[in-house]
């Protein structure tokens, strides 16, 4: 007798994940053989694995552009354009994460091979998150994503802030995870399945268990809202972003957020289209609150990492706005395209901004105040120019990916207004808070160019590469967004 569960494994569909997973396991042991003074070998090896996955992804792009989606592991995961697009983002982010750490870790005396291995593991979590087609997989992926990040946040163990960040992140993360699990349990109780498509069918066919399912959906929202740092589940963000080593912060602010959004979209759009107006309103309100709080509190920050943390909260709000717009099935594809595009634009811009922050940070962990940027316009004109570009992109000024992303998000939301008038109010909040955000983003530019200062920065080749690549990407997304947006729209899950 053959066991039925083993019939449709389809390993090829998850090849990039397998490559990284296998490589991470090998690297973990291999790292034991690498002498302490040569830990950068581990970094390069990790890069090799990531590049391998990138190559696999590259081949999958064409494949899935033709075929649409493919299920694997008996329908537990779905690989489609959406997940491929996001996996590209994750792998790129991980590559940047490695490059950023190359000089940072030894400079701060915290170089250990585990950094790179953990980075690979959390990347796997994100990638699985983007292809999860079952609530159980969502949970497993979420934990796989989170646990390495808890450790990475505390990677600079001798610094108290780092330790504090790790503990806070862990405690609150576990707290939020518990809600997620509870949500899964309630949903299962209400529908009798954890498969997303199965839930969608059950919700439409069986009205009896709807309250249970609806509350379950609400709790799922909490668990994922925590990951994307939406108000009121955002409180951990500033403390953790500030305390964690900066490369980890950079990686986390982009990867974990994108992972959260990937799961959020998949769960809401695939499993709960029948109660779209419920979650639509809820998310619209959360989006409005998030934009307001993130942008307003960011004004009074003097620490660049903390400022970027609040900025990251604010941007989660903008993306949530597009998620809320996906409630109308007619423009779901546009809205999802907008989310994915925004995530890419935000990833490039934010990684770039953190790169500059890393370059300015001093060996003892100080140098993260915005005032430390003074004088950079003179001493490091190119870097300052790139930073100015990133700040403009985050504000949403022209010729940057940030502007295009915002335009798409607002357009998506406006298209959905007929279904949910509340969205109009949230769009207005979004536009107004974008204006407010100019205040603290432009402050960085002003400090760099107008204020006299030492303008000290260490910019090794790896950081230069990242900086050039992210700045280039930001510009490209700003100037010719067409092809990427088309890809993003085609990435829509079916």
């Amino acid at each position: 007798m053959q066991l039925p569960i083993l019939e449709s494994i389809n390993l090829m569909a998850v090849l990039p994940v397998l490559i990284i997973a296998g490589w991470a396991c090998v690297l973990l042991v291999f790292d034991l053989l690498i002498p302490r003074s040569r830990k950068h070998w581990t970094a390069w090896l990790a890069l090799v694995g990531l590049l391998g996955a990138a190559v696999a992804l590259f081949f999958q792009i064409g494949h899935f552009a033709r075929l649409g989606s493919e299920a694997a592991f008996d329908g537990m995961v779905t690989v489609d354009g959406f997940s491929i697009f996001l996996q590209v983002v994750f792998v790129l982010t991980a590559i940047v994460g490695v490059l950023l750490a190359l000089d940072y870790l030894p400079r701060h005396g915290i170089e250990r091979g585990e950094y790179y291995v953990l980075l690979l593991f959390t990347t796997i979590g994100m990638m699985i998150m983007s292809m999860a087609a079952d609530l159980i997989v969502v949970f497993v992926a979420l934990e796989l994503l989170s646990i390495p990040l808890y450790i990475l946040s505390g990677f600079a163990g001798m610094r108290e802030t780092s330790e504090e960040a790790a503990l806070k992140y862990f405690l609150l993360g576990a707290f939020a995870s518990s809600f997620l699990v509870y949500g899964i349990a309630l949903t299962y109780g209400g529908t009798g399945t954890t498969r997303l498509t199965g839930i969608a069918q059950a919700v439409t066919s069986d009205a009896l268990n709807l309250p249970l399912t609806t509350v379950g959906m609400g709790l799922l929202l909490v668990g994922l809202g925590f990951k994307v740092a939406a108000v009121p589940f955002h409180m951990w963000t500033p403390d953790v972003y500030q305390g964690a080593p900066t490369p980890v912060t950079a990686f986390m602010s982009v990867g974990a957020k994108a992972g959260g959004f990937a799961a959020l979209i998949r769960v809401l759009v695939t499993a709960f289209p029948a109660i779209a107006s419920e979650w639509g309103t809820l998310i619209a309100v959360i989006a409005g609150l998030t934009m307001l709080l993130g942008n307003i509190v960011a004004i009074s920050q003097s620490n660049i990492k903390r400022m970027l943390a609040y900025s990251s909260i604010a941007h989660a709000g903008y993306i949530l706005l597009a998620v809320a717009a996906a409630q109308r099935s007619e423009n779901a594809s546009f809205a999802i395209g907008a989310v994915v595009f925004y995530l890419l634009a935000y990833a490039l811009t934010n990684l770039g901004a953190f790169t500059v922050a890393i370059a300015v940070e001093r060996d003892d962990g100080t140098g993260t105040e915005i005032d430390d940027f003074a004088g950079l316009g003179k001493t490091r004109p190119w870097m300052a120019l790139a930073m100015a570009l990133f700040m403009l992109s985050l504000t949403g000024m022209p010729i940057s990916g940030g502007l295009v992303g915002k335009v798409f998000v607002f357009q998506a939301a406006l298209q959905a207004v007929p279904g949910d008038p509340l969205l109009l109010a949230v769009v207005i909040i979004g536009v107004l808070t974008s204006v407010v955000s100019a205040f603290y983003y432009l402050k960085v530019i002003m400090v760099m160019y107008m204020r006299e200062g030492e303008g000290k920065a260490v910019l090794p080749l790896a950081l230069k590469t990242v900086l050039a690549a992210t700045a280039f990407g930001t510009l490209v997304l700003g100037i010719i967004p067409g092809p990427v947006f088309q890809m993003a729209q085609r990435a829509m899950l079916k």
Binding site: K168, G218, L219, F233, G482, P483
Partner: protein, 752 residues
């Protein structure tokens, strides 16, 4: 589709790659003083591009109807169901293939030539500035790669122009070549003596071209408004349809097909196509709109192809280094206008009035520029005016509908004019060397102009290769059979004689002058005795410069083979028929007229003979005035270029400056500043301020303003205070959020 076609993007990307390499690694590549690496890489990229062009040609032999190779969507704007999308598609057809071959082929040769020339040019600059050897090396390290980066960028831009499948992509190329032209004209903007003139020349080229671009942009908008698309094929198909059938019918027949091919249909449905074309407040007939479009396109062409009235920038553009003049301002960029009109032949066929205007402008330019060339002394200026004149020939040809003749002349002209410019460069290079040799002995002076033909003479002994190729080029230009120029010019004249006697006469006279000024130049430069020390010490250029010259000379000799007007030898005509709908290919026996050929040949020989009598029998002596000075005021008139620049100065620039001055001083300063601002407003304000300042003094206004600021800041810091740092508080926030969400969902659920 032949899979070779999919290589076409490379034709643009090889030069782009070359540019990037030279930008980022150029300094590194310049290992030492004599390093040629940047130039070699640039030439290699140009050569690879040429290979791609040849492959396209081969592929087209099998599929002469041509293809469009999609590359990417440049932008796509969708609003609801309407979409405007501009794809960047490569159009490979027989017309663009001819352009590609000319651009990359001649381009490659000039790239190779430039390796030698620019080394010499930069050395010359360094000595002009009196730089030490280290500084000179530094200058070379910066400028040599920069030149080739610009050059490769130009090549890429020109190829974008000719391969674009819609007007907008073509316009992008159009602007990019303009940019390269600007950058390269002012390449020596920091020359200690003439730098300011170089940059002024660049600026002039740029500004004059903007006038032409105004026409282009307006034409593009009109085309989009009228046809709802910018794709060449769609525009022509729709134009064709709107001409032959009634508009209503056309719509019905075309509708299904259009919906399939273009999403713009719904957009058009609102305001195009139907009956007369409506522009909101006014409505014009289709005919009028077509005339407007084609005339505006013509304005663009007169800018880029240096025709009356916008030709004034091209002579000044000779301030750029010689390879620039040869490649951009003779062989390729300036022919963009001819290419554009040929590409739009369908539109011109519908607007006979515009086509006639094109022909008249071309013929007039040909004649005017040829007469000016007769009275110039600068070797490059003669060639510049000659270029304008020859472009006039081509424009006249396409205006008459002789698209084959126009493109044929474009190709042969690219060969022999590039040849002439490069040989002139070789001459100047030689003279400069000669000048150096003497300057070291204390003879030279800085006012010495190595381009003035009066400073030359007797160079045939020192430059044996250059004189041969120069004479080949000159004879080709003069139209002496069997060189390339004869065949192409003859075809234009034949077309003109059939369609419009006036144009034929103008062009024939222009051809006479052409032969004359070329004869004058050859006698003045190469024969007689050296008129300066520099000329006496000139020497031949290195092989890296002369080899391309020899290749070009061969091409200029046998280029006519591509389109002999005899029966099946009429290759180019057959070739272009595939892509130029209105290319009238003459039937057998009509392609050649012995009368026209004899007349033009005899006139050319006569002109050369005349120049021999005037300049050849009694060579110019040192300090002697030009024999043509006997014509007195007429000669001055020609020498001053018909006072064209002065006329512009008087008619446009001075009134404009007067207006600007008046606005600045009288209106802005005296009226606004002195009167309105200083008197009226300030007194008004002073008065009111006295009244208003009372509450300000009392702190009311300050209070209000600061209050708002404090409100935002207060909100910010108060909200920040929620960030207590205690995990328990954070967890409480999460829990409260959960309660709120669950409560909302349950209330909402049970409320329903």
């Amino acid at each position: 589709m032949n899979s070779l076609f999919s290589l076409i993007p490379l034709v643009v990307f090889f030069p782009l790659l070359g540019m990037l390499i030279n930008i980022f690694f150029g300094r590194m590549l310049m290992a030492d003083e004599n390093s040629k690496a940047p130039g070699v890489i640039a030439s290699l990229m140009a050569g690879l591009s040429f290979v791609i062009a040849v492959l396209m040609f081969v592929a087209l032999l099998g599929e002469p109807e041509g293809v469009e190779v999609p590359f990417m969507t440049w932008f796509s704007i969708s609003a609801g169901s309407r979409t405007l999308s501009i794809p960047w598609t490569f159009k490979v057809d027989t017309l663009s293939s001819v352009m590609m071959l000319v651009v990359t082929g001649v381009g490659t040769l000039i790239h190779i030539y430039a390796i030698g020339y620019m080394h010499g040019d930069i050395d010359e600059q360094a000595s002009k500035r009196g730089l030490s050897s280290d500084e000179a090396f530094d200058l070379k390290r910066r400028r040599f790669p920069r030149f080739f980066a610009y050059f490769n960028l130009f090549l890429a831009s020109m190829l974008i122009l000719v391969t674009g499948s819609n007007y907008l992509v073509m316009f992008v190329g159009w602007e990019l070549v303009g940019l390269c032209s600007y950058l390269l004209i002012g390449f020596w903007f920091d020359d200690p003596i003439v730098g300011i003139y170089n940059s002024m020349a660049g600026r002039k080229a740029f500004v004059v071209n903007r006038i032409g671009d105004f026409g282009m942009v307006m034409a593009l908008m009109l085309i989009f408004w009228t046809f709802g698309t910018l794709q060449f094929d769609d525009v022509f198909a729709r134009a064709e349809c709107m001409r032959t059938a009634s508009q209503f019918e056309c719509l019905a027949v075309d509708a299904a097909q259009m919906v399939e091919t273009s999403p713009n249909f719904s957009l058009m449905f609102g305001f195009g196509l139907l009956q007369p074309i409506s522009f909101g407040a006014i409505t014009l007939s289709f005919q009028t709109v077509m005339i407007a479009i084609t005339l505006l396109l013509l304005l663009g062409a007169t800018g880029k192809s240096a025709q009356i009235p916008l030709f004034v920038w091209l002579p000044d553009a000779m301030a750029g280094p010689m390879p620039v003049s040869a490649l951009i301002h003779a062989a390729t960029m300036v022919t963009a206008g001819i290419y554009m009109i040929t590409r739009s032949n369908v539109l011109y066929a519908m607007a006979p009035f515009s086509a006639d205007t094109v022909a008249i402008i071309g013929a007039a330019t040909a004649l005017v520029a040829a007469t000016i060339a007769v009275a110039q002394f600068d070797i490059k200026r003669v060639l510049a005016y000659s270029t304008i004149s020859q472009l006039g020939f081509m424009i006249a040809a396409v205006g008459l509908g002789g698209y084959v003749a126009g493109i044929f002349h474009l190709a042969t002209h690219a060969f022999f004019k590039a040849l002439l410019f490069l040989s002139a460069g070789s001459v100047i290079h030689g003279i400069e060397h000669g000048h150096h040799a003497t300057a070291h002995k204390g003879h030279g002076d800085h006012a010495f102009d190595p381009q003035d033909m009066r400073n030359m003479g007797g160079l045939r002994k020192h430059m044996p290769t250059t004189i041969v190729v120069y004479i080949v080029g000159a004879l080709a230009l003069a139209g002496i059979p069997p060189l390339a120029g004869f065949w192409s010019k003859d075809e234009i004249l034949l077309d003109a004689s059939k369609h419009d006697p006036l144009i034929y006469i103008l062009l024939t006279i222009a051809a006479f002058f052409t032969a004359f000024y070329m004869g004058r130049q050859v006698w003045m430069v190469f024969f007689g005795q050296p008129r300066t020390e520099a000329a006496a010490h000139a020497h031949e250029s290195p092989p890296v410069m002369t080899t391309p010259l020899i290749i070009l000379a061969v091409l200029a000799s046998i280029g006519g083979l591509m389109n002999l007007p005899f029966g099946r030898l009429h290759f180019l005509a057959e070739w272009l028929r595939e892509s130029v709908a209105y290319a009238h290919v003459p039937a057998a026996g009509e392609g050649f007229s012995i009368t026209v050929a004899v007349i033009s040949t005899v006139l050319a020989l006569a002109a050369i003979a005349l120049s021999y009598i005037i300049y050849g029998t009694k060579p110019l002596q040192e300090g002697q005035a030009d024999p043509l000075r006997v014509a007195g005021p007429l000669f001055t008139f020609l020498n001053r270029k018909w006072y064209w620049d002065e006329a512009y100065e008087a008619v446009f620039i001075r009134p404009f400056k007067c207006l600007a001055n008046w606005l600045a001083f009288t209106i802005d300063w005296r009226f606004w500043h002195d009167f309105v601002h200083d008197s009226v407003i300030i007194q008004f304000f002073d008065g009111w301020a006295a009244i208003l300042s009372r509450p300000v003094d009392m702190g009311i206004v300050d209070g209000a303003v600061n209050g708002i600021g404090r409100l935002v800041a207060g909100a910010s810091s108060r909200l920040r205070r929620t960030q207590t740092g205690y995990v328990r508080n954070y967890a409480l926030a999460v829990a409260l959020g959960v309660v709120a969400i669950v409560a909302y969902l349950l209330i909402r659920f049970f409320a329903n």
